[in-house]
Amino acid sequence: MSADSYNKVKRNPNFHMLVARRSRWAWGLATIILLMYFAFILLIAFAPQWLAQPVVAGSVITIGIPIGVLVILVAFVLTGVYVHKANTDFDQMTQQIISEIEQ
């Protein structure tokens, strides 16, 4: 890839849009993951009794169990969200930017 191509990309407003959008999603989702993990740990630190209470009266299952499983599921689902977003939106923008080099 020649220096000229890079200059074309650099001048392409779509490239800057791609960078901005991707970084918004990447850092946004990373923040959600960190906040979620942090909130979970906060609960364990300060409200273990709350996590230890049954989900419904009389059940042996504590609130902590569905919450823990939920954290695992959300981590997985968010990777799916990012992959979906990237496969459709970001990849399409990237293809567009690359095709504009050749013009």
Partner: protein
């Protein structure tokens, strides 16, 4: 302050300490009677993987095939292989053992293990794939001086690989003694010889497929145990928990967070080592170059996260199943009332309880296969650091044929295998648990800061990366030597000079601060050029323009 302290204690202690503690099976173990079904099933696994190695060897022609499976691994396959790298024998046995011992706390550990993966996807995976080719040093040295940065990265990689290998070898020897009733030295030699065969002949193609097969076997085995456990309780999870509470010493406490706490600094430091260390492990980073492009790299992490998350949910059910099915069954306990082989054997005993001797043999063989797969990945990463970074790029300055490079890599593999066997035998009676901790600390303090900043921070220069990275590496090593495990437990001094077990908090901060300081104060012409190259690198990292595709060196 107290609140803050409590938060820190909880936050970081809960991060997976197991990864360190359980990667080596600690302490002396008793050799068990020869387990024939396990040996037969393991031989089947070996036969199958050697056939794959033969098949892979015929397909390994170029350097790209050898180091990166020609970039022809799909996202799903790579996701399985990454999950395989992550689901070590230690995490299977260790986490289910922890759930068996204290219930809910095991789930908290699993979550700590998993949470780094989405972050790797969002921030690292695509850029890494777009910029690199065979090793993470390709990325770290992309716009910096090849010679010093590759040398430092290669030593960082080799230090991590060597420490990890020793711990795995010792763990393998002990586990196999316990599961198969084979002598320790024999087990270490078998592991060493097989891994050298896979890597020298089959390169990354064989290593990846060994990892995939093992991941599928482990996931199927764990699924079967979990289903049998659920069947035992009539597929009613309430009954499982009720029965577990009824027989466990801790009663209903197993359903809620327990109280495992050490000092806050150690806890924080351990967390830093794990989060940054995972993203600095050479054998994990190398997996991202085996796929065709950034899209497949993303899919790899998606599948890996799914498999790993699923696996951890299974270990939770398995741990509770072990409480219900093993407790009060005298077959699984010794005369002192302890689980035979220790709490980490809970999943193994449970496999016998739900599936009989044949299934016990299967799970034992899978545990052996797991160790083999992990050491193969490590050995390939170490050999690549020697052949690709040190030999081809530093010594030969890139003037080398692919054939020559692969030859050096094969010699390096053989040497690494011999070293691993010898050290594995020498360290039999040593405490090796600290070695995995040190490996993570080095990965977090030397490899990760340079890699991350090279992709994200324009002002990084060779001078900053070199001084900071080297300082991180030495700080990590020196603090471990002066710390309680080496200075007191191994060298026999009365008191540790550095009071904490885990150095990462200090060594990572040292690395980042010095990289920053010596980069921003770097006014050299060379530094200026390196900053100017960032834009070009940034465009490639974002768009993949100019990235190495599948097999494009043919």
């Amino acid at each position: 302050m107290r609140l803050l302290q409590k938060l820190f204690i909880t936050l970081f202690f809960l991060l997976p300490q197991l990864g360190f503690a359980a990667d080596a099976i600690d302490g002396a173990v008793e050799k068990q009677a020869l387990n024939l079904p396990a040996v037969i099933m393991f031989l089947l696994f070996v036969a199958a993987t050697l056939m794959i190695t033969y098949w892979a060897a015929k397909r390994t022609r170029s350097t790209s095939d050898y180091y990166a499976a020609g970039g022809g691994i799909t996202g799903l396959q790579n996701g399985l292989a990454i999950a395989g790298d992550y689901m070590s024998a230690a995490s299977f046995l260790g986490i289910s053992g922890l759930v068996y011992l204290s219930g809910y706390d095991g789930l908290i550990y699993s979550i700590g293990f998993l949470i780094g993966w989405p972050l790797i996807l969002f921030l690292i995976a695509e850029r890494l794939r777009n910029l690199g080719r065979y090793t993470f040093a390709d990325v770290a040295s992309y716009r910096l001086q090849q010679l010093p940065i590759r040398t430092l990265s290669a030593f960082g990689a080799l230090a991590v690989v060597a420490l990890y290998l020793i711990a795995q070898m010792v763990g393998a020897g002990k586990l196999i003694q316990l599961l198969f009733g084979l002598p320790y030295e024999f087990a270490v030699v078998v592991v060493g010889v097989l891994m050298v065969l896979y890597v020298t002949f089959g390169g990354m193609i064989a290593t990846t497929w060994v990892q995939i097969i093992k991941a599928v076997l482990l996931l199927s085995g764990a699924t079967f145990i979990a289903i049998m456990v659920l069947k035992h309780v009539g597929f009613d999870i309430n009954v499982l928990f009720e029965q577990a509470i009824a027989v466990h010493d801790k009663g209903s406490q197993i359903m809620a967070p327990g109280g495992l706490v050490t000092d806050p600094i150690s806890a924080i430091s351990l967390g830093v080592a794990l989060i940054f260390g995972t993203a600095g492990l050479p054998h994990i980073l190398m997996r991202f170059f085996t796929v065709a492009d950034a899209k497949q790299a993303r899919r790899s992490v998606f599948f890996a996260t799914g498999f790993i998350g699923y696996f951890y949910i299974l270990t939770f059910i398995i741990g509770f199943g072990a409480i219900v099915l093993l407790t009060n069954n005298p077959d699984f306990f010794n005369s002192e009332g302890l689980l035979i082989g220790g709490d980490n054997m809970a999943a193994i005993h449970l496999s016998q309880a739900v599936g009989g001797d044949m299934f016990l043999g299967f799970i034992s063989a899978v545990a052996f296969a797991t160790i083999l797969a992990v050491v193969s990945g490590l050995t390939l990463a170490g050999a690549s650091a020697i052949s690709h970074d040190l030999y081809a790029s530093v010594i030969k300055k890139g003037q080398v044929t692919g054939k020559d490079e692969i030859r050096v890599s094969r010699i390096a593999t053989l040497v690494l295998g011999l070293v691993a066997i010898v050290l594995g035998i020498l360290f039999e009676q040593q405490n090796v648990a600290f070695m995995v901790g040190l490996a993570f600390a080095i990965a977090a303090s030397a490899n990760f800061p340079i890699l991350f900043l090279s992709m994200y921070w324009q002002k990084l220069t060779t001078r900053g990366a070199l001084i900071g990275g080297f300082a991180g590496l030495t700080t990590a090593i020196v603090l471990v030597i002066l710390g309680p495990i080496v200075w007191v437990d191994i060298l026999g001094n009365a008191e540790a000079i550095f009071p904490y077990k885990y150095p990462a908090l200090f060594s990572v901060i040292t690395a980042f601060v010095l990289i920053w300081l010596f980069s921003v104060t770097d006014r050299s012409e060379q530094g200026k050029q390196e900053r100017a190259l960032f834009e070009h690198q940034f465009i490639r990292s974002q768009t993949g323009i100019g990235a190495h595709g599948a097999n494009n060196d043919h």
